[in-house]
Symmetry: C2
Subunit: 497 residues, 2 copies
């Protein structure tokens, strides 16, 4: 056994988990009240709020420029409870309905304390974000963002609010607030604004600064961080606290294998190169507890063709397994966790059009029996029985089994019939990013495995387990990054001694 | 936000996650080569092997006597690959088939390195265990242990080896080796033997010794542990290493809520009072990485009445969702993770008998339509359609949908029909224990979040993520405890300086 080897690494994610004893630091290169690791959405907002609270702020960014994964995002912020944009578009919303929806869709085990606070203060957050200069066009896009020709509209549905069972749990309202930019790169616009504001605020930004372990006093207090800047190791002291804002870990294959083996099977990994879990590992090395590490946002974007929602999703047993009008991130989670990535979409000629994302056709036929025979992957009789049952009910305008919204119900009775292959093996557009991270209070204070605060340490964005604890809705990444960054920056600034 | 409170604790699990700096230890009360935390199955075997390697051994047990959760177990060891008991009962097995089965049933993401080693050395482990004096009657019990009148037979199936799809993945063999004792308390017999042998080996056993944090040098090496003995705090030095063998965390509600929110819903928690995750938290506080913390063995023991396997399991959509002859721990996992604990069992009069575990009857009727109407919990027509389909095929002796073994197939056509309520809310016999723990090499060396060894620290049994990484078969707890305890004890003894 003595020759047991650690698992092979496909890309070295570096060493960050072994905290440095403060007694081993010979000289502090520089210091600040608040030291922020990572200059993406969370880091920029942490810097802005720490500066607003009067703290001296130093931001360390490993890349040559800030932005991180937030910069690649589609620029949606999940906000609600009656924002000016919701009102301008004629939608009623209130924090309680938003809270009920998020508890139901961000679980199991959503952090209700974090969600409650965010829902109650979401309108204030809207004002803060627009106050930084982020523009939102006062218009509503009546389809999901990402499914139709690009527009610069401000408000849209970015979750399963209208779908069963959520529509019975909470009064639906659109809560995706997208920065005004034509196309899917509104994240870049939003980040450029936030990064510029952070720079203007007087925060010191150091790029090409790769953080290594945290520096910890004998009593466990985090007092700084080791960083490699220009090839040299620097010890940087934090008088108030270190705020970890260094992103998720989808690009660290070892971590994904260890914590989220299901997600390991998803080929397309969403995030910038820096998402190797370094910030999370730094926090763990200083005693921070990482939680919900199995959680991931998994997306299966079959509904880019909106009309495909009229089709029927089928599992390996030839059964339906959910209402097809659930949002693509929830479908991905169900498809991966419940059906192990083995799902297909049944369509008829009246619904079929060229898919916006190319996919393999598993089978075509003049009858569902023929499709089933050609597909060769279902128990005999199962697909045709499922379709017969579906058609029988949808002809009457109802879906008693999964309650898909009436507007999407249509019997699939126009031959030829087609079965699209959406399995993980054949449909390469499944995508994922991780949701797990350090256990924090809403303030961003990092907790250890006993639930006690690790003094001097804060985490935000994907370095923490945040608003989407397990389930996901689009817009929650930027919402979480900006909101939790703000709170952590404020808390760390207050803690300066 | 400054008044944010940590979550309420229903029972104080104590503080263990904040490691003590060695420089803060004024005096070592005592020392040993190998210090073992916990005297259950893993601790006893670690002690035996460390002693066999010539080390001075000190075991610290929080209770007034050893045994832990292993003592409450039903005394099965999952072993195979051609043990003398398997051979005596006429079963062929080989390590490769055992490996294939365990990889498939202990995933997703089973630790193949650990499984490979265990399968290759399982016969040797059998000899070691019997060499300690644990008796196995050389006889085969042709039903699952726990489902029938108690016997003292040695060998039985304790997993889904015979069920689809596993029967196609690996050649089935029974691998549950139960210590010879009439009834379900063979764990007590096995533990009494192992504890006595550990005591006779010259290991020092201190009971009523509650361990608190580990003691860590500035460079991260674990050099001892703080323990409360007789109300006084003692610092105990470990020259070779500390081996954590202190059990799982099913009785720590905060930890279960944080890491395994699904499991939180299971009412009956399997484990001794000490299963509050203390050992895992101690390890995390010293930089150890805890993995697969969402994993749990979840059991729904509906098949105590073996004939009930002839029934049909139904989900909330009125569908079948698996073959009913899967082992009870896999059914529990599927029932909880896939069906959110909302499952029912449909039986007819020819199959029905008084259930061995009392359960609520959801509905009775002369036709399945009547049962469905009375049950009021399924989409209209769904239950009756599912049963019609099942009956149609089983009348021909086949189950194309889920491939239940032919011996369990029987049309449910004899009225009256009955539906038993097995939902989490109504069936109180769902039970669970946690499987997640510290990330270790097969040797028991604890790894940090970078995948590097934490020097001086070892973990075994439920303090580590072991053979059953995610899925479970009965007998793997004691197999894992005894086997990983042996390896960790050996490794820590070798490391003594």
């Amino acid at each position: 056994m003595s020759d047991a080897k650690p698992p092979k690494k496909e890309k070295d994610p570096g060493h960050a988990a072994h905290a440095r004893a403060a007694a081993d630091v010979k000289r502090w290169s520089r210091e600040a009240d608040v030291v922020i690791v990572g200059f993406g959405g969370a880091g920029a907002c942490a810097a802005l709020e720490a500066r607003a609270a009067g703290a001296e702020v130093l931001v360390l960014e490993r890349a040559w420029a800030g932005g991180g994964t937030s910069m690649q995002a589609s620029g949606q912020l999940y906000m609600g409870g009656g924002t000016p944009l919701q009102k301008a578009c004629g939608f009623d919303d209130d924090p309680d309905e938003m809270f009920k929806y998020l508890v139901a869709s961000c679980g199991p085990g959503a952090d209700e304390e974090k969600l409650r606070l965010y829902c109650d203060r979401s309108v204030e957050h809207y004002h803060w974000v627009t106050g930084q200069g982020v523009p939102f066009k006062q218009s509503f896009l009546p389809v999901e963002v990402g499914t139709d020709p690009y527009t610069d509209d401000g408000l849209s549905y970015t979750g399963s609010e209208l779908a069963w069972p959520f529509c019975e749990i909470a009064k639906p309202a659109p809560r995706g607030h997208t920065a005004q930019q034509v196309g899917e790169n509104a994240g870049q616009l939003m980040l450029e604004i936030l990064l510029r504001r952070a720079q203007e605020s007087g925060a010191q930004i150091v790029t090409d600064a790769l953080c290594e372990p945290l520096v910890v006093e004998r009593d466990g207090r985090v007092v700084g961080v080791i960083a490699k800047i220009g090839g040299e190791e620097h010890a940087i002291r934090a008088r108030g606290g270190v705020v970890l804002c260094a992103g998720g870990y989808i690009h660290n294959k070892d971590m994904v294998s260890r914590y989220a083996p299901r997600t390991r099977r998803v080929r397309f990994r969403l995030g910038c190169d820096g998402d190797d879990g370094r910030g999370i590992r730094m926090g763990m090395g200083a005693g921070g507890d990482a939680i919900r590490m199995e959680a991931a946002c998994v997306v299966v974007p079959f509904s880019r063709n909106r009309g495909f929602i009229r089709g029927v999703l089928i599992n390996a047993h030839g059964q339906r397994f959910c209402n097809e009008d659930l949002y693509q991130s929830l479908l991905g989670e169900i498809g991966l966790w419940r059906e192990q990535g083995r799902i297909w979409l049944a369509l008829d000629d009246a619904v079929y059009e060229k898919p916006q994302l190319p996919t393999e056709i598993a089978a075509v036929g003049e009858t569902w029996e023929e499709v089933e025979r050609e597909a060769k992957c279902f128990p005999p009789g199962s697909l045709s029985r499922t379709l017969a049952h579906y058609n029988e009910h949808t002809a009457r305008g109802v879906d008693p089994q999964f309650r898909k919204e009436a507007r999407w119900l249509k019997p699939l009775t126009t031959p030829p019939f087609v079965l699209l292959d959406l399995t993980l093996e054949k449909y390469p557009f499944w995508s994922a990013f991780t949701l797990g991270g350090l256990h924090t209070r809403p303030t961003g204070e990092v907790l250890d495995a006993d639930g006690a605060v690790v003094p001097g340490l804060y985490a935000a964005g994907r370095n923490a387990s945040g608003l989407p604890a397990h389930g996901y809705n689009s817009g929650l990444s930027l919402a979480d990054a900006t909101w939790s960054g703000r709170l952590a920056g404020t808390a760390a600034a207050k803690a300066r001694r």
